[in-house]
C-alpha cells in the first residue's frame, strides 16, 4: 500500500509496510559511537567537519535576519535481504548522506539541503534558506556546546555493520522454514530482514550541538496459503531500534505463528453486513484508532493554524475520565523512540489525554513558540531532505480495568477488530478510517464468525467520546508501522488495551 504523496488535502495516515528496503558500508563507525565521550568528536570526524565551519554556516543562514537556524547532518546506511521461493536471493543496500539547513523567521521556514557537505556548498544552501527572512542580519552562535544524550533509549550491543550478509541469511531461511512447518497449506513465503543505521549530527543558532546514533531493524513475512482452490495472504512483522542482538529465535517463532494464524483464519472469514455498530478494538494494533482518530489532529501544526477539528479543545474534556492517552518517545528499543528529536529537543513521554482531558498537543519548535511552551520533542523528519514537523512517536492508551470478555459480553451485535493494515484521517473534518484485515462478528455477547477485509470509518471527536470501556490488557504493537504526512515517512508504533467504541461505520455488503 503506497502512501500517496500527491494528497493535497491535509491527511495523515499510517501503513504496515509490506516490506522494508533497508545497508552497511563506510565501515568506520563502531557500536560505541553513541557513547557520550565518543559523541561529538566522533561525529565531527565522521562527517569531516569543524565547529568553525558549522558556525560559519549558521551565521550565513541568519544573514537575512532569521530568528533561528539549525543544521542537520545525516549519514544513513540501510541493508535489506529478501527471501522468496525458499531462498535468500536478493540483497539491497543504500547509502544516504547529506545535510539540511533550516531558517525560521517567526513561523515561516526556509529550507535547503546538499549532498556534498563542502563548506562552499553548505554556505550556498544556507544563503538559500536565509531568504525566508527579510530584515537586518543577526549573528550565529558564539559557542557551540555539546549536549550529551542523557538517556539512550536504543543502546546497541552489536552494530549492524559488524554483521555480514552470510550471518543474516540463515535467519530468514529459518523464518521461511518455520512458516512452512506450521501449515501444509502454505504455498509461498516472502520474507525480508532490513537494518538501518543513522548517524545524526545536529547544531543550532542557540549553540546546541548533539550527536545521535540511531539503529533500526525490521523483519517481515508475507504468507500465501491455498485451501480448496482459494488463495489468501497475510503478513506479520517486528521492528525495533536495535542492533544485531535482535536476531534471536523466539522472534522467528512469534512472527511465523502470527503470519500463519492471520492467513489461515481468512479461509473461514466473511464480509459482514455493513452499517453503524459497536466495535471492540482488540489489544495491540488497535492503537491505529488513536493514531488516526486523534493523534494526527493533536499535532500542533494543524492546531496553531486552526485547521484541526481539535483546535478549540485544549484543556477540555474530550472523552471518558478513565482514559489516558500517551505519545511516548522514551520506550526502550521502540521503533518510535527518539533520544533527541530532529530539532534538538530531548525525547519525552507526553500525555495528550489525561483523565479524559485533552492536556497537550504534539509540538515542534514552531508550534511550541506559538503556544508559549516548551516543545514536547515531536519535531521529526524523514531525512536531511525534509524540514521537521510535528510527528507522533509511540502512541498508546493506558490500561483500564475491564476484561475483554466483559466488554464483548455487553454487545448483542457488533464487530471485534483484531488486525489492521493501514489507516487515514482528514485532519479538519475529523473523518478517519482504518482497514481491518481480520476480526470476528460479535453476536449475543460472543465472538462468532471470522470477518476480513473491511474498512471502518468514524469521526475523531465522536469516536473518542464513544469509547465506553477500556480493557486491562494493554499491549504495544511492534510491527513495521510507518506514518505518512506532508510527503514524509516516519517510523512510529501504537498500542492499546482492548476498548469498546459504541458506534462506528463498518464496511460490508448489504
Amino acid at each position: 500500500m503506497k502512501y500517496n504523496r500527491r494528497d493535497f488535502i491535509k491527511t495523515g495516515g499510517m501503513v504496515m509496510l509490506g516490506s522494508l528496503a533497508t545497508p552497511s558500508f563506510l565501515g568506520s563507525c563502531t557500536g560505541n559511537t553513541a557513547d557520550k565521550a565518543a559523541g561529538i568528536s566522533f561525529a565531527l570526524n565522521h562527517f569531516g567537519l569543524s565547529e568553525n565551519d558549522m558556525k560559519k554556516v549558521l551565521s550565513a543562514a541568519l544573514e537575512k535576519g532569521g530568528d533561528y537556524a539549525d543544521l542537520f547532518f545525516e549519514h544513513s546506511y540501510r541493508n535489506n535481504i529478501s527471501l522468496q521461493d525458499g531462498a535468500v536471493n536478493h540483497a539491497y543496500s543504500n547509502i544516504d548522506f547529506g545535510m539540511g539547513v533550516r531558517v525560521l523567521s517567526g513561523d515561516q521556514t526556509g529550507y535547503a539541503y546538499v549532498e556534498n557537505i563542502s563548506l562552499d556548498d553548505m554556505l550556498k544552501a544556507a544563503q538559500t534558506a536565509a531568504r525566508i527572512a527579510n530584515s537586518t542580519a543577526t549573528k550565529g552562535p558564539v559557542k557551540l556546546t555539546e549536549e550529551p544524550i542523557v538517556n539512550n533509549f536504543y543502546g546497541v550491543q552489536t552494530p549492524w555493520d559488524e554483521i555480514a550478509v552470510k550471518e543474516k541469511t540463515p535467519y530468514l531461511q529459518k523464518l521461511n522454514d518455520a512458516i512452512f512447518a506450521l501449515d501444509k497449506r502454505v504455498q509461498k513465503v516472502m520474507a525480508s530482514l532490513g537494518d538501518m543505521t543513522s548517524h545524526i549530527l545536529f547544531c543550532n543558532s542557540e549553540g546546541q550541538m548533539y550527536y545521535d546514533y540511531r539503529p533500526m531493524v525490521t523483519l517481515g513475512a508475507v504468507c500465501i496459503m491455498e485451501d480448496n482452490g482459494k488463495i489468501e495472504n497475510s503478513y506479520a512483522s517486528r521492528a525495533f531500534r536495535m542492533g544485531a542482538e535482535f536476531l534471536a529465535d523466539d522472534i522467528i517463532n512469534e512472527v511465523a505463528k502470527e503470519a500463519v494464524d492471520k492467513t489461515s483464519i481468512l479461509f473461514q472469514a466473511i464480509k459482514p453486513k455493513g452499517g453503524e455498530m459497536p466495535v471492540v478494538m482488540g489489544a495491540g494494533g488497535s492503537g491505529i484508532l488513536l493514531h488516526e482518530a486523534i493523534g494526527h489532529a493533536f499535532e500542533a501544526d494543524f492546531n496553531r493554524k486552526n485547521t484541526s477539528i481539535f483546535s478549540d479543545q485544549l484543556n477540555k474534556k474530550v472523552c471518558n475520565e478513565h482514559i489516558n492517552v500517551v505519545d511516548d518517545g522514551t520506550i526502550p528499543f521502540n521503533r518510535g523512540s527518539v533520544n533527541i528529536d530532529d530539532e534538538g529537543i530531548e525525547g519525552q513521554k507526553t500525555y495528550i489525554v489525561k483523565e479524559g482531558i485533552l492536556t497537550s498537543y504534539l509540538h515542534d519548535r514552531i508550534s511550541a513558540k506559538h503556544y508559549g511552551i516548551r516543545s514536547t520533542g515531536n519535531g521529526r523528519r524523514e531525512s536531511f531532505r525534509q524540514m521537521p514537523i510535528p510527528r507522533m512517536r509511540a502512541t498508546y492508551m493506558e490500561a483500564g480495568n475491564v476484561t475483554e470478555e466483559e466488554m464483548i459480553s455487553t454487545i448483542k451485535k457488533g464487530i471485534y477488530a483484531s488486525s489492521f493494515t493501514n489507516g487515514q484521517v482528514q485532519i479538519g473534518a475529523g473523518d478517519f478510517t482504518f482497514f481491518v484485515k481480520d476480526g470476528y462478528l460479535i453476536e449475543n455477547g460472543k465472538l462468532t464468525q471470522p470477518i476480513k477485509d473491511i474498512n471502518i470509518i468514524g469521526n475523531g471527536p465522536k469516536a473518542l467520546a464513544n469509547i465506553t470501556m477500556v480493557g486491562n490488557n494493554y499491549k504495544m504493537d511492534n510491527g513495521t508501522w510507518t506514518c505518512g504526512k506532508d510527503g514524509q515517512s516516519c517510523p512510529v508504533t501504537c498500542g492499546m488495551p482492548s476498548a469498546l467504541v459504541s458506534k462506528l461505520t463498518v464496511g460490508g455488503e448489504n
Binding site: K188, I231, Q424, A429, G508
Partner: protein, 439 residues
C-alpha cells in the same frame, strides 16, 4: 543534466564491477533539482530548494544478484561500495533467473524526442514562482467569512537519468514538471473544519493552468457543507476523474509478474479471458509526445511499445520483467505500465450525473485497502447523493465495499474527461449496484 563526466562515471562503475567479479551489471545515474514555495494566508510559509544525485548499480555475480544505491559519487568511495556489494551478493543463494534482459529487447535509440523537458525550466525566476502562488492564494483569501486558512503552493522539478548495461544498453531520459496547488479550510458545523483543494500540473510552465485554481478549491470546499452519512444500501456509484484511477490501481497491481509468480494476484491464470466488462478497453500508450509517463524504455532498458491491457474486457497483458519471465518460462513484456488510457465515453461528469436517477458521486476516498489475492476491497468515501440527475446531499463517513472483478464487470459508462496531466488517463466512471455502508 547528465554531463559527459556523469556518463563516464556510470560506465566506469559498470566496468569496475565487471573487473571485480561480476559477469554482468547495470548502472543508472540520476540527478535533478527542485524548488517549492508555499503560501499561507498571503505570507510565504515555506520555501525549499534542492538538487541531488544518486547512482544505482545492479550486480550479477556467479548466478547471484544484488542491487545497491548511494548518493556518494566519489570514485574511491564507489570502489569500496561496489566491492562490498559484490562480497554481499556472493553470500546469497544462487538464482539462475536473475539475468539482464535479452539484448534484442533493448531500446536502441533514434526515436523522436518525447519532449518531456521544458527548455525554459531554468529561466523561471523565484520571484515569479512566488507571485504565481500568491495570486492563487489571493483567489481564496478573504472571499468568505468562514475561511480559516487559505494555502497555495508552487513547485517544480527536473530529473535526468542515464542508464548503461554490460550487454549493450545505453539510454537516457529526462523530464520536468510544474504544479500549482490551492487548499482551503473553512469553519463547518460544530468543530469541523472541512478542507478541499484543487491543482494543476504540467510538464511545461507555459501550459500550467495559472488562474482559477484557488476559485475551484473554494467552490469544492463550500459544497461539502452539510455532509452526512446516509442509509446503507446498493447504489449506482459515479467516481470523478480525480479519483477513478484509485479503483484501477489494485487491478494493475494484480498484473505484475511478481504478483503472478508468487500466486498473490486475483488475476492469476486469467490471460486472454474475459474478466471484466466488455465496455472496458485499456491501452498502454508509452510514446505520446509531451505526456507525463511517456518513455522509450523501462527500468531494465527494455523498449516500450503500445500494448492493450484489456480489450473489451479481455485481459491481454501481464507485466512480465526479465526475472519473472525467466522464472515462469514466459515471454517478457514490459516491467511496468507507462501511460494507461481507458477508452473514454461521450459524456462529461455533469452529463453522467444528469443521467443518474439515484446514485452516489464519489469525490474522495478516505483510506481502505484491497486484498491482493481475492480482489475484495473496502474504502472510506465522501461525495454526494445524486437524485434525479442533481446533487441532492453531500455525504461523508461512509464505506464502499466489494470485489474488484465484480465492480469492473459492472462498469456502466465511462466519461470523456480523463485528466491528461496524469500518466493514468482514467475518466469519470459509473458502476452499477455497489455496496455502500452508512447508517
Amino acid at each position: 543534466m547528465i554531463t559527459k563526466e556523469n556518463k563516464k562515471l556510470a560506465q566506469w562503475a559498470m566496468e569496475y564491477a565487471l573487473k571485480n567479479g561480476c559477469q554482468a551489471s547495470r548502472v543508472s545515474l540520476y540527478n535533478g533539482s527542485s524548488s517549492s514555495f508555499e503560501i499561507r494566508d498571503m505570507k510565504i510559509d515555506r520555501l525549499q530548494q534542492a538538487s541531488e544525485n544518486s547512482l544505482v548499480i545492479h550486480l550479477f555475480v556467479d548466478g547471484r544478484y544484488g542491487s545497491f544505491s548511494t548518493n556518494r559519487l566519489d570514485k574511491q568511495e564507489l570502489e569500496k561500495f561496489i566491492r562490498n556489494g559484490i562480497d554481499s551478493t556472493r553470500y546469497l543463494a544462487e538464482d539462475k533467473a536473475r539475468t539482464l534482459p535479452d539484448a534484442s529487447l533493448y531500446y536502441k535509440g533514434g526515436s523522436a524526442d518525447l519532449q518531456l523537458l521544458d527548455p525554459k525550466f531554468d529561466s523561471i525566476q523565484p520571484d515569479d514562482k512566488v507571485a504565481l502562488a500568491m495570486k492563487t492564494c489571493e483567489e481564496m483569501m478573504g472571499k468568505d467569512d468562514r475561511i480559516i486558512s487559505a494555502n497555495s503552493s508552487y513547485s517544480d522539478e527536473k530529473d535526468f537519468k542515464y542508464m548503461v548495461a554490460s550487454n549493450g544498453f545505453e539510454g537516457d531520459a529526462c523530464g520536468s514538471s510544474f504544479s500549482l496547488v490551492a487548499s482551503v479550510s473553512i469553519r463547518g458545523e460544530g468543530d469541523a473544519r472541512p478542507e478541499s483543494y484543487w491543482y494543476d500540473s504540467s510538464l511545461y510552465y507555459d501550459t500550467l493552468m495559472k488562474e482559477g485554481i484557488g476559485v475551484k478549491a473554494l467552490e469544492r470546499v463550500f459544497r461539502k457543507l452539510g455532509q452526512k452519512k446516509i442509509a446503507s444500501g446498493k447504489y449506482t456509484m459515479i467516481v470523478d476523474n480525480m479519483n477513478s484511477a484509485r479503483l484501477l490501481s489494485p487491478v494493475i497491481d494484480a498484473l505484475y509478474g511478481s504478483s503472478i509468480q508468487q500466486r498473490n494476484s486475483f488475476l492469476l491464470d486469467k490471460l486472454n479471458q474475459q474478466v471484466i466488462g466488455e465496455k472496458i478497453t485499456l491501452m498502454d500508450e508509452p510514446h505520446l509526445i509531451r505526456a507525463s509517463g511517456a518513455r522509450y524504455f523501462d527500468g531494465e532498458g527494455v523498449a516500450t511499445k503500445k500494448l492493450p491491457v484489456f480489450e473489451n474486457g479481455i485481459l491481454k497483458t501481464y507485466y512480465i520483467d526479465t526475472y519473472t519471465a525467466n522464472k515462469m518460462d514466459m515471454e517478457p513484456t514490459i516491467a511496468s505500465p507507462s501511460i494507461l488510457a481507458l477508452q473514454p465515453g461521450d459524456k462529461d461528469l455533469n452529463g453522467l450525473i444528469a443521467s443518474a436517477d439515484k446514485a452516489i458521486l464519489v469525490t474522495g476516498f478516505n483510506g481502505g485497502n484491497c486484498n491482493s489475492t481475492t480482489g475484495d476491497f473496502s474504502y472510506g468515501i465522501e461525495g454526494f447523493l445524486v437524485e434525479k440527475g442533481k446533487l441532492a446531499q453531500p455525504v461523508s463517513e461512509m464505506n464502499v465495499t466489494g470485489n474488484m472483478l465484480t465492480l469492473w464487470s459492472n462498469l456502466a459508462e465511462a466519461g470523456n474527461d480523463p485528466r491528461t496531466s496524469s500518466s493514468w488517463r482514467i475518466p469519470s466512471l459509473v458502476f452499477e449496484g455497489v455496496d455502500f455502508s452508512g447508517l
